[in-house]
């Protein structure tokens, strides 16, 4: 069995994000594997543990994105491929799906493709569904648990109203949510293996496609307006007095 996980590299969630000359800055914070994608790697490794599988992590990004792939390798992925091309700089979700679908076809024989639910940078959450549609494979999204049996995959989808249990024949595309289980820490051996691994780079020419035309165009970025008022601390002699004052303040804001 072969499982492909699609990952992205993003600034750490703790990073202070700002804009400088129209460019996004994240200070000294490291670039990391997108936190949701760690769950995707974890989900793939869980199936590997149960059924045996080759887990291939793929990532679109600049050369620095190798570090995210190394993290996946250190967790236990077997292979990693970086998709890097100067023509991929302004990739939108749909473009990413097109590139990933081409890479998954080139890898060949994938039984499962697993995504995290969304990236924390652009955060569109569109790519898993769009990749599935491009491949023509069923999409089982927001999986909280996964079972493989006789060439079929069965998942519990975590939706607003509870859980929907669905199944489909392989190959299939999944996105996973946190209920899948906390991502394992890279082992010492894993880290050593990852540091020695060779990660091939595929260009658009290797994939046999031209650069996707962006369908969504960014016009501007801006920081959210900073809060005008600092926190007003409510004080009083007794808790009751504090509570009553606070209630009046809240009611005066007319939000209720």
């Amino acid at each position: 069995m072969k499982i492909v996980t699609c990952i992205k590299q993003v600034p750490d969630t703790e990073a202070k994000i700002s804009l400088e000359n129209g460019k996004v800055q994240w200070g000294d914070s490291p670039l990391v594997i997108n936190p949701f994608d760690e769950y995707a790697v974890e989900a793939a490794l869980q199936q590997k543990d149960k059924h045996g599988a080759t887990v291939v992590a793929i990532c679109i990004g600049p050369d620095s994105a190798r570090e995210a792939l190394k993290h996946a390798l250190a967790m236990g992925a077997d292979e990693a491929i970086l998709i890097s091309d100067a023509a991929l700089e302004n990739l939108d979700a749909q473009g990413a799906a097109q590139v990933l679908a081409a890479a998954i076809r080139k890898i060949g024989d994938a039984d499962l493709v697993i995504f995290g639910r969304q990236s924390i940078d652009s955060g569109t959450g569109l790519t898993p569904a769009q990749t599935a549609r491009r491949l023509g494979w069923p999409l089982l999204s927001l999986a909280g648990s996964i079972e493989l049996n006789n060439g079929r995959v069965r998942v519990e989808r975590v939706i607003e109203e509870g859980r929907q249990i669905v199944s489909a024949a392989l190959p299939a595309v999944l996105s996973v949510v946190q209920s899948i289980g906390e991502p394992r820490y890279p082992s010492f051996m894993g880290i050593r293996r990852a540091s020695r691994a060779t990660i091939p780079t595929w260009s658009l020419a290797d994939l046999g496609i031209s650069a996707p035309t962006p369908l969504v165009e960014q016009r501007a970025m801006f920081a959210p307006p900073s809060r005008e008022q600092p926190c007003e601390f409510i004080q009083g002699e007794t808790v009751t007095e504090i509570a009553e004052k606070l209630v009046e303040k809240i009611l005066a804001e007319k939000v209720l």
């Binding site: 600034p11 939706i159 929907q164 669905v166 946190q178 369908l215 960014q218 007003e232 939000v255």
Partner: protein, 330 residues
């Protein structure tokens, strides 16, 4: 301008952001609404009441259960037949992926999880959060029709006019599904944080009550959430939680607020015993008014709160419940 709005529902229960989308589209011109699946026909009148000019539905039994591929193909055929300028979805689990798939089929782009919209002629200029709401971007769609998903509660819900009505236009389902629906499991507790007007949330502070010294953490946390639940109930709100207490197993995951959980946009957010990890703060950026109760005056949550109380939630929360009860006459 003509807009097609997808009405997202589960077994006849509509995600209210669908009506918000109708409200947005009404400002631009003609509104077509589409409702797929069982109970769809019952919702047609409601769609007219919220402002649709034409309502399509398909109650083919193969659509009784949501399946992304089949729903998207059926929507795609309708979009091709009607050629709207814009297709709007609520940003729900279903809306997001249907928009994604439809965009592939129609070779257009998706403006995802939009929080504000302007119109330049017939071009949508959408504002949407990026980097977990630490920044925003303005984006436009280069394909046609333009497809957007609207974040719940980012746009006002239109008034409902019960005198409005129209015909239910039946459409055919298209395509087949490779997905088999085997059943449903109800989540431990049904909370809809994304649609809540008021959220009262608890964090690690719920495990810290000196008056209950000796009791185990789980017992203290249960009591803490009981108090939080009472305040939420007086305010007609929902109970939220920080990641720490969800991870500790004191409250189900469905209550989690924050980056790895849910982004919320209530009118009032009361954070009780939540220190304010950066992910949590990102998750509540959409809240109109944030009130924080915490023992530690240095807690980062106070940096985003409008009003704060430095104190023990086990004392402040019940006092607040009582004060609201009196003041609101409940």
């Amino acid at each position: 301008m003509k807009t097609l709005v997808y009405i997202d529902h589960f077994k006849g229960e509509v995600q209210p952001a669908s009506w918000e989308a109708i409200g947005v589209a009404r400002n631009w011109g003609t509104v077509q609404a589409v409702i797929l699946g069982a109970s769809g026909e019952k919702l047609v009148k409601q769609a007219y009441e919220y402002g649709a000019d034409e309502v399509f539905f398909c109650d083919d039994s193969s659509l009784d259960d949501y399946r992304a591929d089949l729903f998207a193909s059926t929507l795609g055929a309708l979009a091709t037949a009607q050629s709207p300028d814009v297709i709007l979805f609520p940003t729900t689990t279903r809306g997001r992926e249907l928009a994604a798939i439809l965009a592939v089929d129609l070779n257009s782009g998706v403006l995802a999880d939009v929080t504000a919209l302007e119109l330049e002629g017939t071009l949508l200029v959408a504002t949407r959060p990026i980097y977990e709401g630490k920044l925003f971007e303005k984006v436009v769609c280069r394909g046609r029709p333009q497809i957007a998903t609207l974040r719940p509660r980012a746009f006002p819900r239109p008034p409902r006019d019960e005198s409005r009505n129209g015909s239910a236009i039946r459409i055919e389902k298209q395509g087949e599904s490779a997905i088999q629906v085997e059943g449903y499991a109800v989540s431990e507790s049904r909370v809809s944080l994304t649609d809540a007007g008021v959220i009262v949330a608890g964090g690690r502070g719920v495990t810290n009550n000196p008056a209950m010294a000796g009791a185990d953490e789980a017992t203290i946390a249960r009591k803490g959430f009981e108090l939080i639940g009472e305040l939420a109930s007086v305010l007609g709100g929902a109970v939220g939680a920080s990641r720490a207490v969800v991870d500790a197993g004191y409250i189900p995951y469905s209550h989690q607020v924050g980056q790895t959980g849910k982004t919320v946009a209530p009118d009032l957010y009361i954070a009780c015993g939540i220190s304010g990890a950066i992910q949590h703060i990102s998750g509540i950026r959409g809240a109109k008014l944030v009130v924080a109760i915490n023992k530690d005056p240095e807690a980062p949550i106070f940096k985003v709160a409008r009003y704060g109380v430095v104190g023990d939630l086990f004392q402040v929360v019940p006092a607040l419940t009582e004060a609201f009860r009196k003041r609101l006459g409940k």
